[in-house]
Amino acid sequence: MIRVTRKCEFSAAHFYHNPSLSAEENRRIFGKCNNPHGHGHNYVLEVTIAGEPDPATGMVVDLKEIKDLLQREVVDRMDHRHLNYEVPELAGQIPTCENIAAVIWSLLVPKITRGKLDRVRVYESPDLFADCTADGDASKGSRA
């Protein structure tokens, strides 16, 4: 089996705030990420598809199709947006890189028709990223 990874970037604003917690608890838990004016990141998304190369094309998947898919499903949705206000899939969730990765996984899973979605990695910065993978533990799937 071969794993193929396509990368793309999007820039977005967010802040962390849980309305069911007090202002003080929000500040304690989220620190400067709680600043209500928001802040932003250049997110880097890596999407990995696993499968066997098609003997006719030598490809696991056509990366042009993946490029277009990521543009449509992720970049058009999230790039230069405010993740708290403008991405319905994240509504009611704190837009951490864990939750963003899970949302992107859920958006992409039904759209991958050749190969199998193996991993979604979202870098919030070069030193922080979340991975979403299939592990056969369906009980965790409902979070996204």
């Binding site: 837009p95 859920s106 979403c132």
Partner: protein
């Protein structure tokens, strides 16, 4: 699906690879220039991967407000700008190869209470990295 969180940290330290169980000639043969008596140093990168449920209240597997100070205290303060052979108790009788350093850092990080440690990876240089996965050691 399963979600994990990875955070990268850095420290700089010196070391010398030398085993008292080997002769001088064997040390030189095995460790080469890493055996030079005055030691040398690296900019180490430590990649820490945690898994566990994402807390719906915070959207987080682990709060970096807790993880960062923990890693700072347990790993960075202990190793940064130190001589691993001379100043870290665990390497008094163990060669500070990155394999041994990895096991020691894993042992320290395993105590993080808020999520499950899944993996520790250390880059000794941009060309050499070492990885330990929970359950495989």
């Amino acid at each position: 699906m399963k979600v994990s969180l990875t955070r990268r940290y850095r420290f700089a330290a010196s070391h010398r690879l030398y085993s008292p169980k080997l002769s001088e000639a064997e040390n030189r043969r095995v460790y080469g220039k890493c055996c030079n008596p005055h030691g040398h140093g690296h900019n180490y990168v430590v990649e820490v991967t945690l898994t566990g449920p994402v807390d719906p209240a915070t959207g987080m597997i682990a709060n970096l407000g807790e993880l960062d100070p923990f890693v700072e205290r347990e790993v960075i303060d202990a190793f940064d700008h130190k001589n691993l052979n001379e100043e870290v108790a665990e390497f008094q009788d163990r060669v500070p190869t990155t394999e041994n350093l990895l096991r020691e850092i894993y042992r320290r990080l395993e105590k993080f209470p808020a999520a499950r440690l899944e993996r520790v990876r250390i880059e000794e240089t941009s060309n050499n990295s070492f990885e330990l996965l929970t359950g495989e050691d």
